[in-house]
């Protein structure tokens, strides 16, 4: 227990709080915050937009090769971030697979879009996996009932499946958000660590680490607060359940069959 708590507490205790708050007005911190916010927002929006229908499809349909598709979707979760970064580089980089043939892809490297891509790749699967479990937990009879009452598959999705999977989806998104903000390896390899363009809060900690330790500490403290905020919001939202039909649990049901 002490082992888990001490590193976090030490961040706030090592330097007086006044100094920490001062450092927050440092342009490095300011720029990193902007980059993080912008890339997170876009990346998570895209994850939700594309991940939700994908998860629904995988949760409700059985087809040959489904297990393979699900495994591929889950792969980035176990992939070392550095490997994910190199993968992105050779796929989308200027001299990569697509970059060589489609000039437009080279626009991606070393700007905020590249960061967004990296975040989507490493964080997306966390959301999709949780979303699949959430949709699978919805009682099949309710979906069937909706259809027999004249609702099309689309209407059934919006009026029955989505509301009932809501808390599971929120839990998955919280994890994806936290993972995305904390992303380091893939980002630094594919997008580089350019202040104001691709340097996220996580990258800034590393950059300031041997240059100005206090700044690194301040950013770390900021990230701890951010993480706590995400966790607390999640705990509160889990209490906000549409029904007692499903019982979403923060870290449960992370398998997808």
């Amino acid at each position: 227990m002490a082992f888990l708590v001490l590193p976090v507490v030490a961040i706030f205790v090592h330097v007086p709080p006044g100094r920490l708050i001062d450092q927050l007005s440092n342009p490095i911190v300011h720029d990193a915050l902007i980059v993080t916010l912008r890339t997170s927002l876009v990346a998570q929006a895209l994850i939700l937009l594309f991940g939700t229908p994908l998860a629904y499809f995988l949760a409700t349909r059985r087809f040959p090769g489904r297990a393979v598709v699900v495994t591929l979707v889950e792969l980035p979760i176990v992939l070392p971030p550095a490997v994910a970064g190199i993968g992105l580089l050779v796929a989308f980089g200027r001299f990569g697979l697509l970059g060589k043939h489609f000039g437009i892809w080279s626009l991606l490297s070393f700007n905020w879009l590249a960061v967004t891509f990296a975040v989507m790749l490493v964080a997306g699967p966390f959301y999709v996996r949780a979303a699949i479990a959430a949709f699978e937990a919805v009682d099949r009879d309710l979906v069937a009932a909706s259809r027999t009452l004249g609702a099309s598959p689309l209407r059934t999705f919006f009026r029955v499946s989505l509301p009932l999977a809501r808390s599971g989806l929120a839990a998955g998104e919280a994890i994806a958000l936290a993972r995305g903000i904390g992303e380091f390896g893939a980002t630094i390899m594919f997008a580089g660590s350019l202040q104001g363009r691709t340097q996220t809060l996580s990258l800034a900690v590393y950059a300031e680490f041997d240059r100005n330790f206090d700044v690194a500490l301040a950013i770390s403290a900021l990230l701890v607060v951010l993480s706590l905020a995400i966790l607390l919001t999640l705990k509160v939202s889990v209490l906000w359940q549409p029904s007692r039909q499903t019982s979403p649990s923060l870290f449960a049901r992370f398998g997808s069959s």
Binding site: L142, A144, S146, R147, T148, L149, P163, S243, R244
Partner: protein, 311 residues
């Protein structure tokens, strides 16, 4: 009607379009919903059906009113009135009792103005106390609606109370399709007979003048007015058995002497097990004959009331 696993719910789901049969045809009133040969298939939302699930499948995240309105907005108030759930309009399904949930499920299915009503074991999820009252209400409702309705049940009494015709389904095959009284009077086979609550004995039959003599497995010999040869099932209904201390003749040709094995009260009747047979008596008769487990008694029944069926 039939035992678990017979395929009754599957039939209902096929009619609803929730499961796609390999072959066959489903049509209502000239409109074909499924035809394997002609490759016709209508999705559930394209069929005018009202399906009430065994566990009701009410949407837990919606109020009663929203549930009922899901199938159709136009008749919501009227249906809430009719099923006496107007006062519950704002409640959530988890706050309702079993009987109330069923009424909501029925109202919801009818809001769609279906061409056929499908009820999956409507009385199974209710406790014994509520069951009888709900069964009577359901009978009234079905009579009023005058909608083609298919009810799935494993209970003969429910079927007899609600249906005009009963189809007995066992292991995926339809054994008999007839009015409830006909099933009792002329069961097609042993399955049907045991479903309608009959006693079923086994024996070997041979002609004996104008009647058929049956030597039972247990050794006794009885007679039946039915015609049969060889191994048969003997069907005798509990309420057609006369019980006495001795066989006093009368017009009852058959008599089986046995030990009273059990006495069970069911409503205002008493079911008494005498040897291999179960007889139904009134409480008064039970007292008058002084029957109790351990005593010997004679169960008599007529040859005309002894039906023979294929085993």
């Amino acid at each position: 009607m039939g035992p678990s696993g017979a395929g009754k719910t599957s039939v209902l789901r096929a009619i609803a379009g929730l499961v796609r049969p390999v072959s066959g045809r489903i049509a209502l009133d000239g409109e074909t919903w499924f035809d394997a040969a002609a490759r016709v298939w209508l999705a559930p939302d394209e069929r005018r059906i009202g399906l009430v699930f065994q566990e009701y499948a009410l949407f837990p995240h919606m109020t009663v009113r929203a549930n009922v309105a899901y199938g159709g907005e136009t008749r919501v108030d009227e249906l809430l009135e009719r099923f006496r759930i107007s006062a519950l309009a704002g409640a959530r399904p988890r706050e309702l009792s079993g009987g109330e949930r069923q009424r909501v499920a029925l109202a919801r299915a009818l809001a769609r103005e279906p061409a056929v009503l499908l009820l999956d074991e409507p009385l199974a999820a209710l406790d014994a106390h509520t069951k009888a009252a709900v069964r009577a209400e359901l009978h009234e409702l079905l009579r009023e609606l005058a909608l083609p309705t298919i009810v799935v049940t494993h209970d003969y009494e429910d079927a007899a109370a609600l249906a005009d015709d009963v189809g007995v389904l066992v292991d995926g095959t339809l054994r008999q399709l007839a009015a409830p009284a006909e099933l009792v009077a002329h069961p097609a086979d042993a399955f049907v007979a045991s479903f309608t609550g009959a006693n079923l004995l086994r024996g070997t039959a041979r002609r004996d003048g104008e009647l058929t003599a049956v030597r039972l497995e247990s050794g006794e010999q009885i007679h039946s007015a039915d015609e049969a040869e060889g191994p048969v099932g003997v069907v005798v209904y509990p309420w057609e058995i006369v019980v006495g201390a001795e066989h006093d003749g009368g017009s009852a040709l058959n008599a089986i002497r046995g030990e009273v094995r059990s006495v069970a009260r069911v409503g205002n009747r008493v079911r008494v097990q005498i040897g291999p047979l179960t007889a139904e008596l009134t409480e008064a008769s039970l007292d008058r004959l002084d029957l109790a487990p351990g005593r010997t008694a004679v169960a008599s029944f007529k040859a005309t009331g002894t039906r023979l069926v294929r085993l």
